[in-house]
Protein backbone atom coordinates (compact mmCIF):
# COMPACT_ATOMS: atom_id res chain seq x y z
CA UNK A 1 0.00 0.00 0.00
CA UNK A 2 1.29 3.46 -0.91
CA UNK A 3 1.63 6.15 1.77
CA UNK A 4 -0.54 8.57 -0.25
CA UNK A 5 -3.44 6.17 -0.25
CA UNK A 6 -2.91 5.33 3.42
CA UNK A 7 -3.05 9.00 4.40
CA UNK A 8 -6.11 9.54 2.23
CA UNK A 9 -7.85 6.62 3.92
CA UNK A 10 -6.85 7.91 7.36
CA UNK A 11 -8.49 11.22 6.58
CA UNK A 12 -11.59 9.88 4.90
CA UNK A 13 -12.39 7.38 7.63
CA UNK A 14 -13.08 10.31 9.91
CA UNK A 15 -16.22 10.82 7.86
CA UNK A 16 -16.92 7.48 6.26
CA UNK A 17 -16.10 4.13 7.81
CA UNK A 18 -13.68 1.95 5.89
CA UNK A 19 -14.57 -1.63 5.07
CA UNK A 20 -13.05 -4.35 7.23
CA UNK A 21 -10.48 -5.35 4.57
CA UNK A 22 -9.51 -1.70 4.12
CA UNK A 23 -9.07 -1.29 7.85
CA UNK A 24 -6.80 -4.34 8.01
CA UNK A 25 -4.74 -3.14 5.07
CA UNK A 26 -4.37 0.33 6.56
CA UNK A 27 -3.41 -0.97 9.99
CA UNK A 28 -0.78 -3.22 8.42
CA UNK A 29 0.75 -0.30 6.51
CA UNK A 30 0.76 2.03 9.52
CA UNK A 31 2.56 -0.59 11.61
CA UNK A 32 5.29 -0.76 8.99
CA UNK A 33 5.57 2.95 8.12
CA UNK A 34 6.91 5.42 10.71
CA UNK A 35 5.91 8.46 8.65
CA UNK A 36 2.32 7.31 8.33
CA UNK A 37 2.31 6.45 12.02
CA UNK A 38 3.32 10.04 12.79
CA UNK A 39 0.76 11.34 10.32
CA UNK A 40 -2.00 9.33 11.99
CA UNK A 41 -0.95 10.62 15.40
CA UNK A 42 -0.99 14.20 14.14
CA UNK A 43 -4.45 13.68 12.70
CA UNK A 44 -5.75 12.46 16.04
CA UNK A 45 -4.13 15.38 17.83
CA UNK A 46 -5.59 17.92 15.43
CA UNK A 47 -9.01 16.33 15.74
CA UNK A 48 -8.83 16.53 19.52
CA UNK A 49 -7.82 20.18 19.31
CA UNK A 50 -10.76 20.96 17.06
CA UNK A 51 -13.05 19.50 19.70
CA UNK A 52 -11.77 22.32 21.91
CA UNK A 53 -12.59 25.03 19.41
CA UNK A 54 -14.11 27.78 21.52
CA UNK A 55 -17.76 28.66 21.20
CA UNK A 56 -17.83 32.43 21.40
CA UNK A 57 -20.75 34.07 23.12
CA UNK A 58 -22.34 37.18 21.65
CA UNK A 59 -22.81 40.26 23.81
CA UNK A 60 -24.91 39.84 26.94
CA UNK A 61 -27.70 42.02 25.54
CA UNK A 62 -28.00 40.03 22.30
CA UNK A 63 -31.39 38.53 23.11
CA UNK A 64 -32.72 41.77 24.51
CA UNK A 65 -31.79 43.66 21.34
CA UNK A 66 -33.33 40.92 19.23
CA UNK A 67 -36.58 41.18 21.15
CA UNK A 68 -36.62 44.92 20.59
CA UNK A 69 -36.22 44.40 16.86
CA UNK A 70 -39.00 41.85 16.75
CA UNK A 71 -41.28 44.12 18.77
CA UNK A 72 -40.54 46.91 16.30
CA UNK A 73 -41.45 44.61 13.44
CA UNK A 74 -44.75 43.85 15.10
CA UNK A 75 -45.48 47.55 15.46
CA UNK A 76 -44.73 47.96 11.76
CA UNK A 77 -47.04 45.10 10.96
CA UNK A 78 -44.24 42.86 9.73
CA UNK A 79 -44.93 40.04 12.12
CA UNK A 80 -45.03 36.50 10.79
CA UNK A 81 -48.27 35.25 9.34
CA UNK A 82 -49.46 33.40 12.44
CA UNK A 83 -51.33 31.09 12.58
CA UNK A 84 -50.32 29.65 9.25
CA UNK A 85 -50.83 26.51 7.23
CA UNK A 86 -51.98 23.48 9.12
CA UNK A 87 -53.36 25.55 11.96
CA UNK A 88 -56.54 24.40 13.57
CA UNK A 89 -59.16 26.92 12.48
CA UNK A 90 -61.96 25.50 14.58
CA UNK A 91 -61.20 27.58 17.68
CA UNK A 92 -61.17 30.71 15.52
CA UNK A 93 -64.58 29.85 14.05
CA UNK A 94 -66.00 29.17 17.45
CA UNK A 95 -64.59 32.44 18.73
CA UNK A 96 -66.00 34.33 15.76
CA UNK A 97 -69.40 32.76 16.23
CA UNK A 98 -69.46 33.68 19.89
CA UNK A 99 -68.50 37.27 19.11
CA UNK A 100 -71.22 37.54 16.47
CA UNK A 101 -73.83 36.25 18.90
CA UNK A 102 -72.68 38.65 21.58
CA UNK A 103 -72.83 41.56 19.15
CA UNK A 104 -76.37 40.64 18.14
CA UNK A 105 -77.46 40.54 21.76
CA UNK A 106 -75.94 43.95 22.37
CA UNK A 107 -77.70 45.41 19.35
CA UNK A 108 -81.07 44.08 20.40
CA UNK A 109 -80.60 45.24 23.98
CA UNK A 110 -79.40 48.60 22.84
CA UNK A 111 -82.34 49.22 20.56
CA UNK A 112 -84.76 48.28 23.31
CA UNK A 113 -83.02 50.60 25.72
CA UNK A 114 -83.16 53.45 23.24
CA UNK A 115 -86.87 53.01 22.83
CA UNK A 116 -87.37 53.25 26.56
CA UNK A 117 -85.05 56.22 27.11
CA UNK A 118 -86.42 59.51 28.52
CA UNK A 119 -86.50 62.51 26.16
CA UNK A 120 -83.30 64.39 25.70
CA UNK A 121 -83.58 68.06 26.88
CA UNK A 122 -82.17 69.51 23.72
CA UNK A 123 -83.92 68.72 20.48
CA UNK A 124 -81.04 70.18 18.46
CA UNK A 125 -78.95 67.72 16.56
CA UNK A 126 -76.30 66.13 18.61
CA UNK A 127 -73.10 64.68 17.35
CA UNK A 128 -71.35 61.71 18.75
CA UNK A 129 -67.72 62.35 19.15
CA UNK A 130 -65.97 59.51 17.56
CA UNK A 131 -62.96 58.35 19.37
CA UNK A 132 -60.45 55.65 18.67
CA UNK A 133 -61.25 53.75 21.83
CA UNK A 134 -64.53 52.21 22.78
CA UNK A 135 -66.58 54.24 25.26
CA UNK A 136 -66.73 53.28 28.88
CA UNK A 137 -69.23 50.52 29.43
CA UNK A 138 -70.92 52.61 32.09
CA UNK A 139 -71.34 55.99 30.52
CA UNK A 140 -70.86 58.12 27.45
CA UNK A 141 -70.50 61.87 27.08
CA UNK A 142 -72.96 63.54 24.73
CA UNK A 143 -71.41 66.70 23.39
CA UNK A 144 -73.60 69.27 21.70
CA UNK A 145 -71.82 71.17 18.97
CA UNK A 146 -73.95 74.00 17.71
CA UNK A 147 -75.25 76.04 20.62
CA UNK A 148 -73.00 77.00 23.52
CA UNK A 149 -75.94 78.28 25.55
CA UNK A 150 -77.21 74.84 26.18
CA UNK A 151 -76.82 73.02 29.45
CA UNK A 152 -73.48 71.40 30.13
CA UNK A 153 -73.07 67.95 28.66
CA UNK A 154 -75.03 65.35 30.55
CA UNK A 155 -74.28 61.74 31.02
CA UNK A 156 -77.19 59.88 29.56
CA UNK A 157 -76.38 56.33 30.55
CA UNK A 158 -74.94 53.26 28.88
CA UNK A 159 -73.98 53.66 25.27
CA UNK A 160 -75.41 52.00 22.29
CA UNK A 161 -72.78 50.22 20.23
CA UNK A 162 -71.56 52.97 17.91
CA UNK A 163 -69.59 50.72 15.63
CA UNK A 164 -72.63 48.64 14.79
CA UNK A 165 -75.41 51.20 15.05
CA UNK A 166 -73.81 54.13 13.28
CA UNK A 167 -72.25 53.97 9.92
CA UNK A 168 -70.33 57.16 10.67
CA UNK A 169 -70.72 60.65 12.01
CA UNK A 170 -73.13 62.91 10.30
CA UNK A 171 -76.79 63.54 9.73
CA UNK A 172 -77.62 60.05 8.58
CA UNK A 173 -76.36 58.77 11.91
CA UNK A 174 -78.40 61.33 13.80
CA UNK A 175 -81.52 60.41 11.81
CA UNK A 176 -80.97 56.80 12.68
CA UNK A 177 -80.79 57.75 16.34
CA UNK A 178 -83.82 60.00 16.14
CA UNK A 179 -85.84 57.47 14.26
CA UNK A 180 -85.33 55.01 17.08
CA UNK A 181 -86.91 57.33 19.58
CA UNK A 182 -90.58 57.61 20.24
CA UNK A 183 -92.18 61.00 19.40
CA UNK A 184 -92.66 61.70 23.11
CA UNK A 185 -88.98 61.25 23.87
CA UNK A 186 -88.08 64.19 21.65
CA UNK A 187 -89.92 66.73 23.75
CA UNK A 188 -87.69 69.10 25.65
CA UNK A 189 -87.64 68.65 29.34
Amino acid sequence: MQCGMARSWMQSRRDTALSAPQERELDQHVMECADCTAFGRDLRLVDSWLQQAPVEEPAANFEWRLKLRLAQLEREGRQPALPARGANWRPWLQFGGAMATAALVVVIAGSQWLQSRPAAPDPAPLAWERSNSHPSPDEVLVTPLRDERRAPPAFVGPPSPPSLYFVGAGDSSVSALDSARTPNSLEAR
Binding site: L50, E56, F62, R78, R85
Partner: protein
Protein backbone atom coordinates in the same frame (compact mmCIF):
# COMPACT_ATOMS: atom_id res chain seq x y z
CA UNK B 1 -50.04 40.97 19.45
CA UNK B 2 -48.06 40.85 22.64
CA UNK B 3 -44.31 41.11 22.29
CA UNK B 4 -42.48 37.81 22.47
CA UNK B 5 -41.22 38.60 25.92
CA UNK B 6 -44.72 38.96 27.28
CA UNK B 7 -45.40 35.27 26.80
CA UNK B 8 -44.11 32.72 29.23
CA UNK B 9 -42.67 29.46 27.91
CA UNK B 10 -44.71 26.49 28.90
CA UNK B 11 -43.00 23.92 31.01
CA UNK B 12 -42.99 21.49 28.09
CA UNK B 13 -41.38 23.73 25.51
CA UNK B 14 -37.80 23.17 26.66
CA UNK B 15 -38.12 19.47 25.93
CA UNK B 16 -39.27 19.97 22.35
CA UNK B 17 -36.99 19.53 19.37
CA UNK B 18 -36.22 22.55 17.21
CA UNK B 19 -38.63 21.47 14.50
CA UNK B 20 -41.42 21.02 17.02
CA UNK B 21 -40.71 24.45 18.45
CA UNK B 22 -41.12 25.90 14.97
CA UNK B 23 -44.53 24.28 14.72
CA UNK B 24 -45.45 25.72 18.09
CA UNK B 25 -44.24 29.14 16.94
CA UNK B 26 -46.26 28.98 13.74
CA UNK B 27 -49.28 27.99 15.82
CA UNK B 28 -48.91 31.28 17.68
CA UNK B 29 -46.71 30.63 20.71
CA UNK B 30 -43.83 33.04 20.41
CA UNK B 31 -42.12 31.73 23.54
CA UNK B 32 -40.94 28.86 21.39
CA UNK B 33 -38.74 31.25 19.44
CA UNK B 34 -37.04 32.45 22.61
CA UNK B 35 -35.94 28.90 23.26
CA UNK B 36 -34.65 28.51 19.72
CA UNK B 37 -32.60 31.68 20.08
CA UNK B 38 -31.13 30.53 23.39
CA UNK B 39 -30.15 27.21 21.86
CA UNK B 40 -28.52 28.49 18.71
CA UNK B 41 -27.24 32.01 19.30
CA UNK B 42 -23.76 31.07 20.57
CA UNK B 43 -22.87 28.54 17.88
CA UNK B 44 -24.34 30.69 15.14
CA UNK B 45 -22.45 33.73 16.38
CA UNK B 46 -19.22 31.68 16.57
CA UNK B 47 -19.69 30.47 13.02
CA UNK B 48 -20.30 33.98 11.76
CA UNK B 49 -17.37 35.34 13.74
CA UNK B 50 -15.07 32.84 12.07
CA UNK B 51 -16.33 33.87 8.65
CA UNK B 52 -16.45 37.61 9.15
CA UNK B 53 -13.67 37.97 11.75
CA UNK B 54 -15.40 40.97 13.29
CA UNK B 55 -17.57 40.68 16.43
CA UNK B 56 -19.85 43.58 15.53
CA UNK B 57 -20.52 42.29 12.04
CA UNK B 58 -21.05 38.77 13.34
CA UNK B 59 -23.63 40.00 15.86
CA UNK B 60 -25.46 42.03 13.27
CA UNK B 61 -25.69 39.12 10.87
CA UNK B 62 -26.74 36.75 13.66
CA UNK B 63 -29.51 39.16 14.68
CA UNK B 64 -30.64 39.52 11.08
CA UNK B 65 -30.67 35.74 10.59
CA UNK B 66 -32.90 35.25 13.63
CA UNK B 67 -35.18 38.10 12.54
CA UNK B 68 -35.62 36.56 9.11
CA UNK B 69 -36.22 33.13 10.58
CA UNK B 70 -38.94 34.65 12.78
CA UNK B 71 -40.59 36.74 10.08
CA UNK B 72 -40.63 33.84 7.65
CA UNK B 73 -41.45 31.14 10.18
CA UNK B 74 -44.53 30.20 8.21
CA UNK B 75 -42.31 29.34 5.25
CA UNK B 76 -40.19 26.84 7.20
CA UNK B 77 -40.73 23.36 5.87
CA UNK B 78 -40.01 20.48 8.19
CA UNK B 79 -38.12 18.54 5.54
CA UNK B 80 -34.84 20.04 6.74
CA UNK B 81 -33.51 20.60 10.23
CA UNK B 82 -34.18 24.01 11.70
CA UNK B 83 -30.44 24.53 12.22
CA UNK B 84 -29.81 23.82 8.54
CA UNK B 85 -32.43 26.38 7.58
CA UNK B 86 -31.09 28.97 10.02
CA UNK B 87 -27.49 28.53 8.91
CA UNK B 88 -28.56 28.74 5.27
CA UNK B 89 -30.10 32.14 5.98
CA UNK B 90 -27.00 33.25 7.86
CA UNK B 91 -24.59 32.03 5.19
CA UNK B 92 -26.48 33.87 2.47
CA UNK B 93 -26.42 37.03 4.57
CA UNK B 94 -22.66 36.72 4.98
CA UNK B 95 -22.15 36.26 1.26
CA UNK B 96 -24.35 39.24 0.46
CA UNK B 97 -22.42 41.35 2.93
CA UNK B 98 -19.05 40.33 1.55
CA UNK B 99 -20.27 40.93 -1.98
CA UNK B 100 -21.37 44.44 -1.06
CA UNK B 101 -18.11 45.30 0.65
CA UNK B 102 -16.09 44.05 -2.29
CA UNK B 103 -17.98 46.35 -4.58
CA UNK B 104 -17.51 49.23 -2.17
CA UNK B 105 -14.99 52.00 -2.85
CA UNK B 106 -11.36 51.05 -2.44
CA UNK B 107 -11.00 52.76 0.93
CA UNK B 108 -13.63 50.54 2.52
CA UNK B 109 -12.37 47.40 0.87
CA UNK B 110 -9.01 47.71 2.55
CA UNK B 111 -10.49 46.09 5.62
CA UNK B 112 -12.65 43.50 3.95
CA UNK B 113 -11.38 42.88 0.51
CA UNK B 114 -7.74 42.09 1.04
CA UNK B 115 -6.53 38.76 -0.13
CA UNK B 116 -6.75 36.55 2.90
CA UNK B 117 -4.24 34.15 1.46
CA UNK B 118 -1.61 36.78 2.11
CA UNK B 119 -2.32 36.57 5.83
CA UNK B 120 -1.74 32.88 6.15
CA UNK B 121 0.98 32.12 8.62
CA UNK B 122 1.48 29.37 11.10
CA UNK B 123 0.37 30.28 14.56
CA UNK B 124 2.81 31.80 17.00
CA UNK B 125 3.26 29.70 20.06
CA UNK B 126 3.85 31.22 23.48
CA UNK B 127 7.41 30.98 24.66
CA UNK B 128 7.70 27.78 26.67
CA UNK B 129 10.52 29.22 28.80
CA UNK B 130 12.19 26.53 30.78
CA UNK B 131 9.39 24.11 30.28
CA UNK B 132 9.31 23.02 26.63
CA UNK B 133 7.16 20.09 27.59
CA UNK B 134 4.61 22.11 29.47
CA UNK B 135 1.03 21.34 28.79
CA UNK B 136 -0.93 24.16 27.34
CA UNK B 137 -3.74 25.56 29.38
CA UNK B 138 -7.12 24.93 27.84
CA UNK B 139 -7.69 28.59 27.17
CA UNK B 140 -4.31 28.83 25.47
CA UNK B 141 -5.11 25.89 23.28
CA UNK B 142 -8.49 27.31 22.41
CA UNK B 143 -6.84 30.55 21.38
CA UNK B 144 -4.38 28.68 19.19
CA UNK B 145 -7.16 26.70 17.59
CA UNK B 146 -9.15 29.86 16.90
CA UNK B 147 -6.12 31.45 15.27
CA UNK B 148 -5.49 28.30 13.30
CA UNK B 149 -9.03 28.40 11.92
CA UNK B 150 -8.58 32.03 10.97
CA UNK B 151 -5.62 31.03 8.84
CA UNK B 152 -7.76 28.86 6.60
CA UNK B 153 -8.61 30.66 3.36
CA UNK B 154 -12.19 31.93 3.32
CA UNK B 155 -13.09 29.71 0.39
CA UNK B 156 -12.51 26.60 2.53
CA UNK B 157 -13.21 28.03 5.96
CA UNK B 158 -17.00 28.09 5.54
CA UNK B 159 -17.35 24.35 4.87
CA UNK B 160 -14.56 23.49 7.29
CA UNK B 161 -16.18 25.29 10.23
CA UNK B 162 -19.61 23.88 9.44
CA UNK B 163 -18.14 20.38 9.51
CA UNK B 164 -15.40 20.46 12.14
CA UNK B 165 -16.86 22.93 14.60
CA UNK B 166 -20.60 22.88 14.07
CA UNK B 167 -20.70 19.16 13.14
CA UNK B 168 -23.12 19.36 10.25
CA UNK B 169 -23.19 16.40 7.89
CA UNK B 170 -21.86 16.70 4.37
CA UNK B 171 -25.39 16.71 2.99
CA UNK B 172 -26.45 19.48 5.37
CA UNK B 173 -23.40 21.53 4.45
CA UNK B 174 -24.22 21.11 0.79
CA UNK B 175 -27.70 22.43 1.50
CA UNK B 176 -26.45 25.33 3.61
CA UNK B 177 -23.79 26.45 1.17
CA UNK B 178 -25.55 25.54 -2.07
CA UNK B 179 -22.47 23.58 -3.16
CA UNK B 180 -22.34 20.12 -4.64
CA UNK B 181 -21.47 17.28 -2.30
CA UNK B 182 -18.16 16.64 -4.02
CA UNK B 183 -17.22 20.30 -3.73
CA UNK B 184 -18.09 20.25 -0.04
CA UNK B 185 -15.82 17.25 0.57
CA UNK B 186 -13.02 18.82 -1.38
CA UNK B 187 -13.23 22.12 0.48
CA UNK B 188 -13.38 20.44 3.85
CA UNK B 189 -10.30 18.37 3.06
CA UNK B 190 -8.44 21.42 1.84
CA UNK B 191 -9.51 23.27 4.97
CA UNK B 192 -8.18 20.45 7.13
CA UNK B 193 -4.89 20.60 5.32
CA UNK B 194 -4.59 24.34 5.89
CA UNK B 195 -5.54 23.95 9.53
CA UNK B 196 -2.88 21.29 10.03
CA UNK B 197 -0.33 23.55 8.38
CA UNK B 198 -1.33 26.39 10.67
CA UNK B 199 -0.97 24.16 13.72
CA UNK B 200 2.37 22.74 12.57
CA UNK B 201 4.42 24.71 15.15
CA UNK B 202 2.44 23.11 17.95
CA UNK B 203 2.75 19.69 16.36
CA UNK B 204 6.51 20.17 16.02
CA UNK B 205 6.84 21.19 19.62
CA UNK B 206 4.92 18.16 20.74
CA UNK B 207 7.01 15.91 18.53
CA UNK B 208 10.15 17.47 19.91
CA UNK B 209 9.16 16.62 23.45
CA UNK B 210 8.56 12.98 22.75
Amino acid sequence: MQPMSALRAGTGLQELADEQLMEVLVAGNKAAFEILVQRHKARLYSYLLRLLRDPTEAEEVAQEAFVRAYVHADKYRNIAKFSTWLYTIATNLVRNRIRKTRSAPKLLSLHWGHDEDDDREPIDLPDPGDRPDRVFEKSELQGLVARGIEQIPARYREAFVLREVNHFTYEEIAEITGLKLGTVRSRINRGRGHFRDAMEPLLKRLRGTE
